[in-house]
Structures are given as C-alpha cells and as structure tokens.
C-alpha cells in the first residue's frame, strides 16, 4: 500500500475542565490514502471536530494530545515546531469550515484574503489576483477578477462556501479537510457543493478528510468512511462496507435512522434511544453498551476488540467474527 497522506494512530485527546478530564478522543486509528476521500460520520459531540483540530494542531486552550501519533506524509507532526506547523497549514493541508457566513473576514475584500494566503509564493500581486480569479471562476463564480473587490457580505451563503473552497484549493494542498462544509446550507445548495467538491477532487487529485453527519453526503462523495461514537472510531471501511455490510450496532442504528431510507409513512422518526455517556466518567467495557439493543454481560466488562471484517473493514464489537 502506498504511504497514506495522513496517518493517525492511537490518538487520544483530553480536555481539562473544572468538572474533570474529558476524554474526547480515545485510541483513534485512521488513514487517509493519497487522492482518496475519507468521510467521518457521527452525532454532534462525538469528537469529529476535535479530531480535525488535533490534526491541524489548532486545538482549544484546554485540550491536549494525551497519546498517539499523527503522521503527515510520513512525518510525525507531534515533533513539529509552531513555525513548521504554520509551514504545513495552508500549503500542504487546507481547510473548509462549517459556517461560510463567518469563515471570511468581513472587513477585507475576498481578493485581499485570497492574495494573502498565497504569501509564500514569490509571485506579483497581479499574478496572485489572476490565480485567485481563475479559481473563483473554477468554483462557479463568474467574472472572478471584478468580484475579487467585493466584500464577503456581498455574497450569498452558497457563494461564500464556494469562495472558501476556492481558497482551500488555491494553495494546491495534498490534504483538504472539510469540516461539515454543507451543514449550514440548504439542501439544494448542499448537492451543488458536494458535486463541486467531487469534481474538484478529481481535477486536483488531493486527499480529502470530510466530516459530516449526513450519511447521504458521505455515501455520495467518499471512498472510505469512519463512524465515530462518543470519542471512539467504532467502525471503518469502504463506503460499500459501511452502507451494505455494517458491522457495529451503532452503524446499523445510524443507517436505520436516516430519514431517506424510511419506506413506509410513519408519524415517528426512528431514533437511537438513550444519551451519549459522560466522557469524564467513562463506562467500563463497550462505549455503546447503554444504547445497544444486543448488550450482554461481556459488553459491560471488557472493551470490545477491533474485528477485521474485510480488507479495509474493521468494527469494535464483541459479537462480530473475522
């Protein structure tokens, strides 16, 4: 197998809070192969955003990496100094954020912001503007050169997300991290943005780590999927594995709860009963025990092993066999 762009092994992240230590991420193993799209799916609060903050090392002040390694292109990012990290951000790794309405600086023109991120390239301002304008046109904003002089509030939400995508790709990254880029947009725009991303990914051949809680979006865009629950990666595999042969009970309930797969008219949307366990006071054994329909004594005693179900397919559950 070729060297993954991003290789996360045994990553643990804790938050120090007045109530105690929140173990937000526990023993995460995840690889992003070159030029592939890896999706991360899970409920709010499952640690998706903490994971990407840890990858780009822009974590909250009370967070710290307790264990594990993050390798980018084979290099251990833990050993990077602040300036080495800055050298990677916005050149090898770039990001698209969740809320396009607040992701752009409101008092600077988008041209200024798009030129600034090219500060490492020794091009003239004019050249940088031209590149920015071409990229705007590439993401579907016509008349790019003159729109560069507009301010963010002069664009709609969907347009702004196109702009942030243009910015992220302008630096020609090896890895693009997209943190729920369509959550703040309405459904029609969501489809457009996903198509655009897919299109651009084929063109630019960058790897994408795509965070979402929309299963449809994941299925449409990704090659591989990781399912997160309460700070653990409970199952990972190809899109086909996850959507057609889900192993973990949580993945299965998640798929059942997707409104688009409901066939008969119903007055109640299916939900997973129960709440996410406290991440300060973790239960012994399986993290999903309290909400699992198949829970047994062993689940309450020992943490489940990672069971290999296929080439890329693993799930952490006592009831699965290789």
């Amino acid at each position: 197998m070729t060297q993954p762009v991003l290789d996360i092994s045994n990553l643990c992240v804790n938050y120090q809070t007045p109530k105690g230590t929140v173990q937000a991420l526990r023993h995460i193993h995840l690889q992003v192969p070159p030029a592939k799209v890896v999706g991360l799916v899970g409920e709010s609060g499952c640690g998706k955003s903490t994971l990407i903050s840890a990858v780009i090392r822009l974590m909250a002040e009370n967070a710290h990496v307790a264990a594990g390694k993050i390798r980018f292109m084979g290099l251990d990012m833990q050993g990077f100094s602040a300036s080495e990290l800055r050298g990677i951000r916005g050149r090898d790794i770039s990001m698209v954020f969740q809320d396009p309405m607040t992701a752009l600086n409101p008092v600077l023109t988008i041209g200024r912001q798009m030129v600034d991120i090219q500060y490492r390239d020794g091009l003239s301002r004019k050249k940088k503007r031209e590149r920015a304008a071409r990229m705007l046109e590439r993401v579907g904003i016509s008349d790019g050169l003159s729109r560069l002089d507009n301010y963010p509030h002069q664009f709609s939400g969907g347009m702004r997300q196109r702009i942030t995508i243009a910015m992220a790709l302008l630096v020609q990254p090896k890895l693009l991290i997209a943190d729920e880029p369509t959550t703040a947009l309405d459904a029609t725009l969501e489809v457009q943005i996903i198509r655009l991303l897919k299109d651009l990914q084929t063109d630019f051949q960058c790897a994408i780590l795509f965070i979402s809680h929309h299963l449809n979006v994941i299925a449409e865009l990704c090659d591989y999927v990781g399912v997160m629950y309460a700070g653990e990666l409970v199952e990972k595999g190809t899109v086909r594995d996850i959507f057609h042969r889900p192993g973990h009970p949580y993945t299965r309930s998640l798929l059942e709860c997707d409104p688009s797969v409901i066939e008969e008219p119903t007055r109640f949307l299916p939900t997973i009963p129960g709440d996410i366990p406290s991440l300060i006071d973790l239960p012994k054994g399986c993290i999903f025990q309290d909400r699992c329909a198949h829970v047994m004594t062993v689940c309450r005693k020992t943490p489940p092993p990672a069971v290999h179900l296929g080439d890329h397919h693993t799930a952490a559950c006592h009831f699965l066999e290789e």
Binding site: M95, A103, N105, V107, L108, Y119
Partner: protein, 314 residues
C-alpha cells in the same frame, strides 16, 4: 463611500440645527431676564426695554431662533455685552488651545493604549496581561484633575523639569510643546487605560471568531492575523468611543485647563457661567456642540472606511 459621507454630513447638519434650537430655547426658558442681569438691579424699565430691542429679545421666539441660526451659519455668534467684542472672536481664540490639548491627549493615549490592548489580548491571562489590567483600571479610576495636581507638583514644582502654568509664548513651538506635556499627560492617562481595556475586550472577541481560525488554518503569520485581520475589526468600538470622547473632552478638559491655568473652551465656559455672561456661554456651547457633532461624524466616517457593512447601512 462618497454617498455615505454625504448622508452622514447631512445628518450632522440636522443634529447641529436641532441642538442649537434646543440650547437657545433652554437659555430662554430659564427664569431671569438677561437684560436685568447685564444692567444690574438699578436699571429702569426703559433701559431694559432698550437693551431688549438691541438684543432682539422683543421679537417673537421663533423669529429669534431662526435669526440666531442664520447668524450661526454665517459664523456670527453675537456680541459679548461686557467686553463689547464679538463672541466668535473670543471663542475661536480659545478654541485652538483646547483642540491642541485634546488632540495631543487622545493621540498619546491611543498610541499607548491600542498596542497595550493588543498585547494583553494576545498574551491573555499571563502575568503581564494582568499587570496591564491593574494599571488600566488604576488610571481609569484616578480623576484627571488629581493626576493634573500631582503631576504638576512632581514634575513642575519638585523636579522643575516642566513649566507649571500657562500655554507658552505664542509662536514659539518648543515652548508651547513643553507647556502641553503635563496637561496632555493628565487628560490622556485615564484614556490609556480605557482604550487598552476596550481594545483587549474586542480583540479577544475577534480572535475567537471563525474567520481568524480560518486564517490560522491557512498558516498566515501571527502578526498579519493580529494587526491586519483582527485589529481592523477590533478597533471599531474604540473609534466610536473616541469620537464621543473627543467631543466630550472639548468641554470637559476644563479641569486640566483650570489647574494649569491654560486658556481654553472649557475654562471660557466656566468663567462666563460664573460671570453670567449669557451670549458668551451660548456662543461657547454652540461651538463645542458643533465640534462634538463634528468629531462623532469623523469617527463614524472612519468606521465606515474600515467596515464595508457600515458604509451600506445608514
């Protein structure tokens, strides 16, 4: 931007007219006949009537207001009945001194306060941030006349480094500058703390915003982020504060002016109120009102220059 300026200046003119009308009516609603004040208790009714005619007080109120407004627009603020000199001349003579003092005070306060605020925000919750915090609250709490008195005692009397009173020989810039240091220090010191606190608070807010996180995720240098991306937003509340602040200072620099015996608008208003010199009070108040409106107009325009969203509002 030009459109914004036109609208904003139009608004300013309306505000000035309303303010002047209110001021004029206020003076006339206040009991007491200016003529009896000017002429003293032994004046005969005929003398008072004569003076009324001279001052235009025998005409209907509306006519008086309109004619006063017309005069103000032409720069004529009436006559001072004590010294028999035009009010405008007296006021404008004092105005330069006040403006220089106020601008000098605010400028040094800004030059120190803004970097202090940025520093505090970037190194938040460190020892030096807390030190800046204690300093800021301290200087805000001390009234400017106390600073004025003690700095005068220390620097002018004990050390004899700087002159104690007056505004310096006119025409001699160095001498005038030396006379400016202590009063500007006294007025500006509190503002340093004020500005530092305000900049720190708004800077902290801005540094937590999403677009700053995005700028960091693109690896922009920290100095670019703080001084170009964050400060341009974080400075907006301070610009607004300074707009009203400078306006207010024009009439409230009076403490420092009295302590250091400097001429100035504040001292002029104080003196003319004490001597019941109504035309002079009116003239000085009108001028400081106009300056107040002018300084808020300028600060709003600076805000509009910095923030495109403001330009399109109003």
């Amino acid at each position: 931007m030009l459109f914004y300026l036109l609208k904003r200046v139009g608004l300013a003119v309306v505000i000035v007219v309303v303010a002047v009308v209110l001021l004029y009516s206020m003076i006339h609603v206040v009991p007491g006949d200016p003529a009896s004040v000017i002429l003293g208790p032994r004046a005969t009714p005929e003398m008072k009537q004569e003076l009324h005619k001279l001052m235009g007080l025998d005409r209907p109120f509306v006519v008086q207001v309109v004619s006063f407004l017309g005069k103000v627009a032409r720069g004529d603020l009436g006559m001072d009945f004590f010294s028999q000199r035009p009010v405008a001349e007296i006021v404008f003579k004092q105005l330069d001194e006040t403006l220089v003092l106020v601008l000098a005070s605010i400028t040094w306060a800004m030059l120190l306060g803004i970097p202090l605020g940025c520093y505090s925000a970037v190194f938040r919750n460190t020892f030096s941030d807390k030190l800046v915090g204690v300093f800021s609250i301290g200087v805000i709490a001390v009234p400017s006349f106390v600073v004025a008195l003690y700095s005068l005692l220390f620097f002018a009397v004990t050390l004899q480094w700087l002159p104690a009173i007056g505004a310096g020989e006119s025409g001699q810039l160095l001498d005038q500058a030396r006379h400016l240091i202590l009063p500007a220090f006294a007025i500006g010191l509190g503002w340093v703390g004020y500005i530092a606190r305000l900049v720190r608070a708004s800077m902290l807010e801005v540094l937590n915003e999403n677009h700053i996180r995005r700028a960091r995720a693109f690896g922009l240098p920290e100095t670019t982020i703080v001084f170009h991306y964050a400060l341009k937003l974080a400075i907006l509340p301070t610009v607004t504060l300074l707009g009203t602040g400078i306006g207010r200072l024009i009439s409230s620099a009076v403490f420092a002016e009295i302590v250091f015996a400097r001429p100035g608008i504040g001292k002029l208003i104080f003196d003319s109120v004490v001597s019941r010199n109504y035309p002079l009070v009116m003239g000085a108040v009108v001028v400081s009102t106009v300056l107040f409106v002018l300084s808020t107009t300028i600060s709003d325009s600076i805000n509009a220059m910095l923030d495109p969203r403001v330009r399109e509002r109003l």
